[in-house]
Amino acid sequence: MTLLATAVTFVFALEPAAQAMTPVATHFFFYLLSAVAIISAVFVITRRSAVHSALALIVSLLALAGLYLMLYAPFVAAVQIVVYAGGIMVLFLFVIMLVNLELAAKEAQFNKQWIAGVLAAVCLAALFAVVYYKGAALFPGTPLTLAETDNTQRIGIGLYQTYVLPFEIASLLLLVAIVGAVVMAKKKI
């Protein structure tokens, strides 16, 4: 036990003082993480087996957590990994195992209106392209470098001071969701 305490103290003593570290190979990591996220997302919507889709979604969420780290948001990245990839996707996998999807994997995967769906998505893409092209002047060149040392503390202060009402409402929302999910999934109420 004291060995553990010594090791932890050693690690914390070695931490560098509060100074910003220069980013390294930003372009490479951005394109790599973006490619992983987008290709995994394509796998999510095209795989026949639901387990493959869930695993591809986990990969996509982890790539997005990496992108949050690049955007100087370490707390959001940690929340993404722990809650989203570690909680919600595990819930999805539980339900996929509970529900027998073997028969569904043999049927047709795309419904009859897939052409209309893809067309709608292409129109949405065109809308995005027009908005981002016309409004490119609104997103100036190099964003500021946020301080990355006290991000968690500032988010904590924000959650408990400025945004305390949405915080409490979110806890109520989770309570309602838990009660609702348990009642709906029970065999006899």
Binding site: L91, L173, L174
Partner: protein
Amino acid sequence: MELTTLHYLVVAAALFIIGTIGVLTRRNVVVVLMSIELILNAVNLNLVAFSRLYNGLNGQIFSIFIVADAAAEAAVGLGILIAFFRNKETVNIDEVDLLKW
């Protein structure tokens, strides 16, 4: 080329469009729910990118709330799926037509 906010916005838009295609074209309910999670993550990336641009933490706090909301929504949606599967033994979303005329 310097990495601007626009790069992240384009990635978020691509994820949003892929999620939309998944919601509109797949027949498996579980994959539709996962595509909705993709859409929510695209919005999260958008928020965090803008939070960095405007040097505030509002976007990041908002994205934490979206993660909590996505957890609640996934739990409820999957509960509905389990209840529906218990009755009809299928996860085909075309079979969810009990309220049709």
